[in-house]
């Protein structure tokens, strides 16, 4: 690999550089994805813009009523350890915890995990399930994109080449909400997910009826995707094992795994695992919703 290395010290400076270099540049945050791809020759930027020292891009900021704003540079380790992600927003903490190994989590950033654009990213299903939005800055100002629309295809996001992801906004969760994220892979977190499932479930304690359900699948389609059909099965109904199994079945039908030869798993197997882990994710989220 060979490139010019730039280190802006402010968001404005970063945006100015991006406007200048556009598709010739790549943004470096932690580097645990970018550097691998540069070594492999998959990405060959002329310019690397290291945003890792811009302080405004870091930090977790609690908002009113339990919402959060999380800066793009927040490391997986920080997300793993923070008490702010132990309650209804736990899916995101679990997603971060299951990224690879501690050495990677010490460096890898939440923003990088999304911007890298691979469908097996462990934090993206959780962000979708938690109804998060990505706040993006560009030459024309800021815009906000729901996470379920953030990814366009393998390696592709909605970011333009002159835009910078600033932070994620997670809205306040409804009361009586629980969430979870399950990553499945034959060696556990040591490798990329074969499937990842995040669920956020809101259950009315008075009648056990599911008031809100958001289920997101990773690693089983060209992008992370929301299993809306599965959600519909749960919404407005009292939860029980049979209903959850139906929702899991539906989720496995909504998955769109690559039918060809894959290094990680066949399409048949991925669908089977979507069924298994959607069930687990809903069950655990439901249990957590009932015990706030």
């Amino acid at each position: 690999m060979k490139f010019e290395f730039l280190e802006p010290t402010s968001i404005a400076e970063a945006l100015s550089m991006l406007s200048h270099y556009r598709e010739r540049a790549k943004i470096l945050a932690g580097g645990t994805d970018l550097i691998v791809q540069m070594k492999q020759g998959v990405l060959k930027p002329d310019v690397v813009i290291h945003v890792g020292r811009i302080e405004e891009l870091g930090g977790i900021h609690p908002e009113s009523a339990g919402g959060l704003r999380i800066g793009t540079l927040t490391t997986m380790r920080t997300l793993e350890k923070t008490s702010l992600l132990q309650g209804p927003l736990r899916a995101l903490g679990e997603g971060a915890t299951q990224v690879s190994c501690p050495q990677i989590r010490n460096v890898a950033t939440l923003g990088g995990n999304s911007c890298n654009g691979i469908p097996s990213a462990d934090t993206v299903p959780a962000l979708i399930a938690l109804n998060a939005r990505a706040l993006i800055a560009g030459p024309k100002g800021k815009r906000s994109v729901p996470m379920e629309n953030f990814h366009r295809g393998p390696g592709q996001t909605v970011l333009e080449t002159d835009e910078l992801l600033l932070e994620f906004e997670i809205p306040p969760p409804h009361p009586f909400t629980g969430s979870s994220y399950f990553k499945y892979s034959p060696r556990g977190t040591s490798e990329l997910a074969v499937v990842g499932v995040a669920a956020s479930i809101t259950v009315d304690p008075k009648d056990g009826v599911c008031r809100d359900a958001r289920i997101a699948l990773g690693a089983c389609a060209p992008t992370p995707l929301r299993a809306m059909g599965a959600e519909t099965i749960l919404l407005g109904n009292r939860l029980n094992d049979r209903l959850i199994a139906q929702a899991a079945d539906q989720a496995s039908r909504e998955a769109r795994p690559n039918p060809g030869v894959s290094v990680r798993a066949s399409a048949w197997y991925r669908r089977a695992m979507v069924r298994v882990f959607t069930r687990h994710a809903i069950e655990v989220a439901w249990r957590r919703a009932s015990k706030p």
């Binding site: 030869v261 290094v263 990680r264 048949w268 197997y269 089977a272 695992m273």
Partner: protein
């Protein structure tokens, strides 16, 4: 970890041993924990102006090279040489692939051109500038297809023509060898059998994945020769290859081993030394060729994928009567050793008494990377079939699997199917120990949830090839410190420590007074390499002879000086002892320099060490009849092993978790017990990978999972907790091994797969015959079983529990 009760018998016979038989700390551990142990690539800074090498590799499994234009690469500033197949010597050596493809690439990953440049970045840029056009050709990956008379592709049309190469057979152009074993009367054997079982088993391609990639620094020397620093195995063998390939005078070729970061057989093929030498000669400089991890998957050797058809006949009481086997060994695009499957076949012959044996093994070429030596070499794959078959046979007969084996195991003094007399066979003690420890006959305790538990055992032996010639030298200084010189390998198994222990024992010295010098053709005497677990045996025996040679010289000199009989003298920690009492320090035998004394006369002189030399070579094999494969000596000794596991199978995902492992090994005599444990535990880990996780995945003839991220090697989490992994020794001394020692490196690889498969069957009632037992394979088998009998989805039946 604790050791079996059998250890006491070998201990008492060797109770006077001070160093051998003890768990002496490794002599290289200090350097390694301080980070100062140098591996090949660590030496780069020693070579100013070191050139980096990069290789252009064929992206196709089989392709004609239509156009190869390197001119743009040559013009890039900083590029010092570009070579293609035309620049390579025409000679071929059986231990090294063609350095670069000439007109055809015959596997995806074969090198087509290479560049030496001033920096790695320039070398990579030069590779990108090479203009290459391929014409894709049909390829064959399946050895059963490849071995047909009219295969989809002929991998290497010159297959019969290599000197000392494979045995070309007219049967089919991709068959590189055919071994037959015919013992007894197979038709009669099956006719008399009450029960006959037929199955097909297979193993897939896997990689050694040792942590240090192949690496060679080659320096052109002013006398026109070369010096190589390499982690390849066998410095003298490499010297011979390099000298031969490039017509370099042997006196001008020097090969040095720094520390080697694991091998498991990978480094017995030479992927880097020839190309590095070619570029060192071309540039008249110093070059570094270090494989990337991707290249280790594409262009280094792999384990042999093996297919086994096995038909077994037995009487109702469990007596084995007949076994018919067809073994197909996939050599890849290789023309080197192990080409007829005979080594693999040994796994079927060395443990059980089977009077009627009919076996054909074939070596077959396919358009895949070279396959060859890998811990357990071929035996592991055949034992996968044989022991799985035994497990199924036990079930069919309603017999205890341990009892079935006890009934048929060979005893010392008996002959196996080849006609070899068994010298030492501790395998049954191994199995009994593990069966007891795993409590095989007590069903596992099932817990609620998707995980079902099961137990299984297996036992096997791994042959040792009677090959090689080991020399060793000791230099005994006047202060009684000793230098040991030998050239076998130290790829982590601990040969330096074992050799230090042997010398310390022979000289009755504390081990700190022994210094090991290894692996430099300028300084250390001839050896082949470390393979077939024979370093302790071959080199250890040579070293003992070298020690005794030096001691004999010393005691003869002492007997003259002391006017005592040699038989009454011993050398103990630098003292000559007469009938047990110290009489003379060793140093007193060395005459000081004096202007007034004839320094050229005999006797020891100060500053000049006593040199002892020893040679050991195992007794040669006796050539076998090519029609029957019979011989009284094909192999030397066998290391035996048994494995017991308790597994949990997740019926939702198909995952297999190893909950408990019990390993027992017969290594003859443990020279360093803790190091033996380490070999067993390490082999267990490696075997778990080979059984449930690892495989080469191909798309369009190209291996695609060539990274530690998606080639699944076991991590800390795939091994059971320490308290659940036990190792036991059941040593059966080998008459001509050092203190009875055999070897242990390969033992634990060979029994794990069938033990796991047996445990999986015990847990969930599915029989799997193809490795790896990946979660998907297990899940599919469970789904199929479910569809065949919906009620079978529940946990293990009572029948299974009664085992």
């Amino acid at each position: 970890m604790n050791h079996g009760a059998n250890r006491s018998s070998s201990e008492s016979s060797c109770s006077s041993l001070k160093v051998v038989g003890k768990s002496v700390p490794r002599v290289d551990a200090l350097d390694k924990v301080l980070g100062r142990a140098r591996f090949t690539a660590d030496l780069r800074r020693n070579f100013p102006g070191l050139l980096s090498i990069r290789t252009l590799r064929s992206p196709y499994a089989h392709a004609r090279i239509v156009k190869l234009d390197t001119s743009k690469a040559e013009r890039l500033p900083g590029v010092r040489a570009v070579v293609t197949g035309k620049d390579c010597p025409e000679k071929i050596h059986s231990r090294a692939p063609r350095i670069l493809a000439l007109d055809k690439a015959i596997w995806a990953g074969e090198g087509v051109a290479a560049v030496a440049a001033e920096t790695p970045e320039i070398a990579e840029e030069a590779i990108a500038r090479i203009d290459v056009v391929y014409e894709e050709l049909p390829y064959v990956l399946d050895p059963e297809e490849a071995m047909k008379p009219n295969p989809p592709a002929v991998v290497d049309p010159k297959l019969g023509q290599y000197p000392a190469g494979p045995l070309f057979t007219p049967e089919a152009p991709n068959i590189s060898g055919h071994y037959k074993l015919r013992a007894g009367d197979i038709a009669k054997g099956f006719a008399e059998s009450d029960v006959i079982l037929e199955n097909r088993f297979s193993t897939c391609r896997i990689s050694h994945s040792q942590l240090e990639p192949a690496s060679c620094i080659a320096r052109y020397e002013p006398d026109g020769g070369v010096t190589l620093w390499t982690n390849g195995q066998g410095v003298y063998v490499i010297k011979g290859i390099i000298s031969d390939l490039f017509d370099l005078p042997m006196a001008k070729v020097r090969v040095i081993n720094p520390y080697q970061g694991g091998s498991f057989g990978s480094r017995l093929r030479h992927y880097v030394e020839p190309l590095a030498t070619l570029l060192a000669l071309r540039t008249k400089g110093t070059v570094d060729l270090t494989f990337s991890r991707e290249e280790m998957y594409l262009a280094a050797s792999t384990r042999l994928p093996v297919i086994v058809y096995i038909k077994t006949g037995a009487k109702r009481d469990g007596t084995l009567l007949a076994q018919e086997m067809k073994i197909i060994v996939d050599n890849g695009a290789s023309y080197a050793a192990v080409q007829d499957g005979r080594l693999a076949a040994s796994g079927a012959v060395c443990v059980y008494r089977i009077p009627n044996f009919f076996l054909d093994s074939y070596g077959v070429n396919t358009n895949t990377p070279w396959a060859g030596a890998y811990r357990g070499l071929g035996t592991t794959q055949v034992v996968w079939a044989v022991e799985s078959q035994m497990d199924m046979l036990a079930e069919k007969l309603g017999m205890d699997p341990v009892e079935l084996r006890r009934k048929n195991v060979l005893r010392k003094g008996e002959k196996n199917a080849y006609g070899e007399v068994i010298q030492s066979i501790g395998v049954m003690q191994c199995l009994e120990r593990v069966a007891e420890e795993i409590q095989l006959h007590t069903p596992p305790i099932q817990e609620p949830g998707p995980w079902r538990r099961g137990k299984g055992v297996a036992m096997a032996g791994k042959q040792n090839t009677p090959r090689g010639r080991s020399e060793a030298e000791v230099l005994v200084h006047e202060d009684a410190t000793v230098e040991v010189r030998y050239s076998a390998d130290e790829q982590g198994m601990g040969s330096e420590t074992v050799m230090a222990q042997i010398a310390a024992e022979e000289f009755s010295l504390p081990i700190e007074k022994v210094r090991i010098r290894r692996g430099d053709t300028e300084r250390t005497p001839y050896d082949t390499f470390s393979a077939s677990s024979f370093t302790t045996y071959n080199t250890g025996n040579a070293l003992r002879r070298a020690c005794r040679d030096a001691i004999r010289q010393i005691l003869e000199a002492a007997s003259q000086k002391l006017e005592a009989k040699v038989e009454d003298l011993r050398l103990v920690d630098g003292q000559i002892m007469v009938r047990g009492s110290p009489a003379l320090p060793l140093g007193d035998l060395f005459a000081p320099f004096s202007m007034f004394t004839d320094q050229g006369a005999g006797g020891f002189k100060k500053g000049s060490p006593v040199r002892g030399h020893g040679v050991f070579a195992p007794a040669p094999a006796v050539p076998w009849d090519p029609e029957t494969g019979l011989t009284p000596r094909m192999w030397n000794w066998f290391q035996y092993n048994a494995c017991g596991v308790e597994v949990a199978v997740n019926v939702e995902t198909g995952e297999i978790r190893i909950l408990r492992g019990v390993l027992a090994a017969d290594m003859g005599f443990p020279i360093n017990p803790k190091m033996c444990e380490g070999q067993m535990e390490g082999g267990f880990g490696m075997a778990i990978g080979a059984t449930i996780l690892e495989e080469y995945i191909y798309r369009n003839g190209v291996m695609i999972n060539r990274s530690f991220g998606n080639y699944r090697i076991p991590t800390f989490r795939q091994l059971p907790p320490r308290s659940h992994l036990k190792t036991f020794f059941a040593p059966d001394p080998l008459p001509d091994g050092p203190w009875g020692a055999k070897g242990i490196g390969e033992a634990t690889m060979i029994t794990v797969a069938p033990a796991i498969a047996s445990a999986v069957y015990n847990a969930v009632g599915v029989r799997l015959r193809d490795l790896p037992l990946s979660p998907e394979r297990v899940l599919r088998a469970l789904a199929q079983k479910q569809s065949e009998s919906p009620s079978a989805g529940r946990r293990a039946t009572e029948e299974d529990s009664n085992r």
